[in-house]
Every structure is written in C-alpha cells, then in structure tokens.
C-alpha cells in the first residue's frame, strides 16, 4: 500500500515541479535565452526563479539534515562527494553549451513534450542518446556518476 502512495507522490511532485516551471516562465525556451543573452535585451527573471527555489529548498534540506530516513521509508540518498573534478566541470560546460543553443534543459523539455511540441520529441531523443554516448565512452573509468 505504502508503495502505491509512493508512486502517486512521485507523480504529484512531478506535476508540481512542472507547474513551477510553467508559472515561473522557465518552460519557455525563449525566456531562458533572454536570460542568457547578457549583451542583448536582458531578462533577469531566471534569477528570481533561482532565489525563490533556493529559499524554500534551504529550509527543506535543513529539515532533512536532521533526519535519517525518508518519509516513505529507506535511507536518504543524498550525494556526499565534495571533490571538484574534471568530469564535473567539463560535463557542466558541455551542458551549458547545449542549454545556450536552444534554451532547453531536461525538466522544461518534458513539460514542452507534454504540451505537445514536436521539437521536444527530437530534443529528448537526442538527450537520451547523449546520455547513452556518455555512458559508453566513459564507462571505463566509472565511478558510476552519482547524480548531482
């Protein structure tokens, strides 16, 4: 029973997250590009999104730091690595180039897909291929990449 509640909760949080992207305007790639275009006509909205998210997030992660278990059971799976290494920097740089080309990152891509945009299909398939390629090329020195 608890497992089913868990899955419903996953779905509901996914929808809430999608709403956050829609309301903040971040589901619109042109708005993201407007933020990234410092030399053009600049739209600072993304800073407000980050500030809003982090203010709430700080409280959430503070509460979690006092706990040892997730509400739906199981250990907390929070990354513990603190080393700044090459894959982190190079990977993030490559991510940023892709983000700068289209103004789309993974969350908004899924929202755009749900809103019926065909270009989101192409983006997501290409994204999955990119992830697969990364795994293929860099499986030798795995260190299975722990997310975030």
């Amino acid at each position: 029973m608890k497992k089913h509640f868990g899955l419903i909760s996953q779905y509901a949080i996914g929808t809430l997250f999608g709403w956050g992207l829609i309301i903040s305007g971040m589901s619109n790639p042109q708005k993201v590009l407007g933020f990234l275009d410092l030399a053009g006509s600049w739209d600072p909205s993304l800073i407000f999104v980050m500030v809003g998210a982090i203010l709430v997030g700080l409280a959430g992660f503070y509460i979690v730091s006092k706990r040892s278990e997730a509400f739906f059971g199981g250990a907390l799976r929070i990354p513990t690595r603190r080393d700044i290494n090459r894959p982190l920097v190079i990977g993030s740089f490559i991510f940023g180039i892709g983000w700068g080309i289209a103004g789309i990152c993974p969350g908004p891509a899924i929202v755009a897909l749900g809103a019926g945009y065909l270009k989101a299909v192409v983006f997501i398939i290409a994204m999955l291929v990119g992830m697969k390629l990364c795994e293929k090329f860099f499986s030798a020195h795995k260190q299975k990449p722990t997310q975030a």
């Binding site: 899955l7 996953q10 779905y11 949080i13 929808t15 809430l16 997250f17 956050g20 992207l21 829609i22 309301i23 305007g25 589901s27 790639p29 708005k31 990234l36 053009g40 600049w42 739209d43 600072p44 980050m50 998210a53 992660f61 509400f71 250990a75 799976r77 929070i78 990354p79 690595r81 080393d83 700044i84 982190l88 190079i90 990977g91 993030s92 740089f93 991510f95 180039i97 892709g98 700068g100 103004g103 789309i104 990152c105 969350g107 899924i110 929202v111 755009a112 897909l113 749900g114 809103a115 945009y117 270009k119 192409v122 983006f123 997501i124 291929v129 990119g130 992830m131 990449p145 997310q147």
Partner: protein, 145 residues
Amino acid sequence: MQIDWLSFTPIPSLLGGMILGVAAALYVLLHGRILGISGIVSGLIHPKAGDMAWRVSLTLGILSAPFWAAFIFDIRPIVQIDTDWLGILLAGLLVGFGAQYGSGCTSGHGICGLSRLSPRSLVATLTFMGAGFLTVFVLRHLIGV
C-alpha cells in the same frame, strides 16, 4: 547591458521558483532523493528491475503538468522554440551528454545542489551558466543566428 522590462516577470518567476523549491523539498523529505531530472530520466535508458516505476511516475507527472494546469487552473504554458531542428538535435545531444558527465543539470545542481550548499553543485552551476552566456553571445552577437 539593457534590461528587457517587457519580458521581465519578477513576481511569477519568484512564485514559480518557490513552487520548484517546494517540489524539491517535498521530494527529498518524502522520497529521500535529489529531484534531479537528468539523473532520474537517465535511469530509464538502462532498465533495472525494481528501479523503474518511481522514475516513470515522476516523469509522467512532469509530462502531464501542462494538462493539469489547463484542466484545473485554465493556465497554458507559453512554449516558444525558435531554434531550428538541427540546433535542437545538437542541443539535446550536448545537454544529455553534459548532464550525464557532469552528474546533474539545472534542477539537480542548480536548485537542489545550491539549496544544500554543495560546493560541487556551485561549481557546476557557475560553469553551465557561464557556458550558456558564452554560447548565446557567440550565436546571437558574433555569428548572428
């Protein structure tokens, strides 16, 4: 620098950002995980028994956000994709590859990582924002796409 006052939406963006923060906070409290979309989605490409249902549920939740927003609040997302097909293809490849290699994206590093004061995520966020600024500068102002 010139501010685009017509596009600037401080209140909805702050509010939407707070909703993103609530989602990330609920996620870690209830499920004990980082709400990092690239990591959750990348787990779908090599299916492992017992590790799929939650990833699929979360992804379906995001996917149906526009439907529920329209159904409940009569809000429809503005999605303007002006990049051509080739650009979309290239952007998708780079975003997927980079997020996998760099262990996260705008949600995992940007929102969750900064919220838990992770030095790795701070470096990642500054790096991908810098790369994004640079890319848009080159494309819009040097090449003129």
